[in-house]
């Protein structure tokens, strides 16, 4: 039980901490929002790619289909050594594009994401807030620049005839995905963090009430939520924990269940239409933390047999060992990396496909010319059917990916705690698999 609590704290705490220092979200993919899907700015061409990236990205406001909720911002500026705290509605954003029309403390809200002004004028830092745009206009533009062979986008806005460049928040990807270490950190409760807190609260409520029921209704048939959850819990116990973990399944079951329900809950929450559609398990930072948890659980519980087979494989010629050892050592790291990428790629792809199927309507409108609107109405029928079909597949994927993450963690654990059949002691568990 104690082990499970530690991992519970580790996974959730770390996931929340890391999730807004997002590793590879294309947060700032060209939010020239005249290209957005609402059709109000039909002068420019609609870009499905930008829309899709915008919708899978994290944001500092929580947009549902009809309402925008402000979220608290905690921004730390390295150069000034200043921590700014305020609610994101101070930016005066409008619509669900999330372009703020006010400068607060040298920060602006560009496409739902907080960005820092690279060269702020003194009054931008001293004044409480400065207006840079009237309502319903899009002050931010971007241009592509090539730095060191990589194409990057630099966002900027014009104010009083002067150009102000914007800096993205610090990410941990060392610039691989266009971010890197910059001059400010964003510790805000972002959309992803808010969804994670919501889901965790719901989970805690659900599971504490279930746990209580097992005490009060001891010996009776399960009822209500308990009856709904019990088959899922027993499924993980009987199909994942017991076959893979032999005698020590009880020790690791809480960890496996935590991972399973955390991923499943967030997968399902992200698929509810008009509820933000937050892409939490499709955020590399979140899956990174989950993979790190799996990595430590597997390797810290690895026994002598496991390490022996990695470092110095018995029964293999010495020359071959020189090749095998690096490969096995790489395998130790690659296993959690694939866990991380699999969940991230599957959920992100699901969210993007959904957005792009909806985007078909607007692509058709652009292609249709004069008859664009009529063609768009016709396309929308096909688009809605396709989207609903994809959503049912994504519902399946939500379960499968949660299950795959859990079963692979169990399989790696199995390799780590397996005593090996050649040692011929305590054979009871060997019959289990």
């Amino acid at each position: 039980m104690k082990l499970s609590k530690i991992f519970f704290a580790l996974v959730f705490g770390a996931a929340m901490l890391f999730s807004n220092i997002s590793i590879a979200q294309h947060d700032n993919d060209g939010h020239d929002h005249a290209t957005h899907e609402d059709g109000a700015h039909s002068a420019k061409k609609f870009s499905a790619k930008e829309t899709a990236f915008h919708h899978i990205a994290d944001a500092n406001i929580y947009s549902t289909g009809w309402m925008n909720f402000p979220l608290p911002c905690f921004l730390y500026d390295k150069d000034r050594g200043k921590l700014s705290m305020f609610l994101s509605n101070k930016f005066h954003y409008h619509g669900h594009h999330g372009d703020g029309s006010e400068i607060v403390d040298g920060y602006v809200l560009n496409g739902g994401t907080v960005m820092k002004i690279a060269n702020p004028s003194p009054e931008m830092l001293s004044e409480d807030h400065i207006s840079i745009a009237s309502k319903d206009t899009h002050p931010f533009k971007f241009e592509k620049v090539t730095v060191g062979g990589k194409e990057n986008e630099v966002s900027y806005f014009m104010h009083n005839g002067k150009r102000y460049d914007l800096i993205k928040k610090t990410t941990l990807d060392a610039g691989v995905f266009g971010g890197g270490l910059t001059s400010f950190y964003d510790f805000s409760i972002t959309k992803n963090v808010a969804s994670m807190i919501l889901v965790c609260l719901f989970m805690m409520f659900a599971f504490f009430s279930i746990a209580k029921k097992y005490k009060t209704r001891d010996g009776k048939a399960p009822s209500g939520l308990q009856a709904f959850m019990e088959p899922i819990i027993v499924f993980i116990q009987d199909e994942v924990a017991k076959p893979f973990l032999g005698n020590s399944w009880k020790k690791f079951l809480p960890f496996l269940l935590t991972i399973f329900f955390f991923i499943l809950g967030l997968n399902l929450f992200g698929q509810i239409p008009f509820l933000g559609g937050s892409n939490v398990t499709g955020n590399l930072s979140v899956t990174f933390v989950l993979a790190i948890a799996a990595f430590f659980v597997v390797n810290l519980s690895g026994n002598r047999h496991y390490w022996e087979h990695i470092v110095w494989m018995p029964g293999v010629p010495a020359a071959l060992k020189l090749i095998l050892t690096p490969v096995e050592l790489l395998g130790v790291i690659i296993k959690p990396i694939t866990l991380m990428l699999r969940l991230f790629a599957n959920i992100t792809a699901g969210h993007m496909v959904m957005v792009i199927f909806v985007s078909l309507i607007f692509i058709a409108k652009d292609m249709g010319g004069d008859n664009g609107v009529a063609i768009a109405w016709g396309t929308s029928l096909a688009s809605i059917l396709l989207t609903m079909f994809m959503m049912s597949i994504e519902l399946l994927v939500a379960f499968i990916q949660a299950f795959v993450f859990t079963i692979l963690t169990a399989a790696y654990l199995n390799a780590a705690i397996d005593e090996g059949h050649d040692h011929d002691h305590d054979d009871a568990h060997a019959t289990a698999h």
């Binding site: 199909e239 990428l341 790629a345 079963i407």
Partner: protein, 67 residues
């Protein structure tokens, strides 16, 4: 993204598609032959498919980084 990276991604997906297709086909055969073992077969099918998918994902991410 460069078009070469796109081709690389496509190749990785072809490989994974063939692999996962084979796994699915064999699992279907196995279920048809032994319907009572459907639970075990399905769990193992998903596990193996996930492993194949892992290799393809690494290739795709590498293509992303190169592109």
């Amino acid at each position: 993204m460069g078009s070469l990276a796109g081709i690389g991604m496509g190749l990785a997906v072809i490989g994974a598609g063939i692999g996962i297709g084979n796994i699915g086909a064999k699992a279907m055969e196995a279920i048809a032959r032994q319907p009572e073992a459907v639970g075990d077969i399905r769990a193992n099918m998903i596990l193996t498919a996930a492993l194949v998918e892992g290799a393809a994902l690494i290739a795709i991410v590498m293509a992303f980084l190169a592109g």
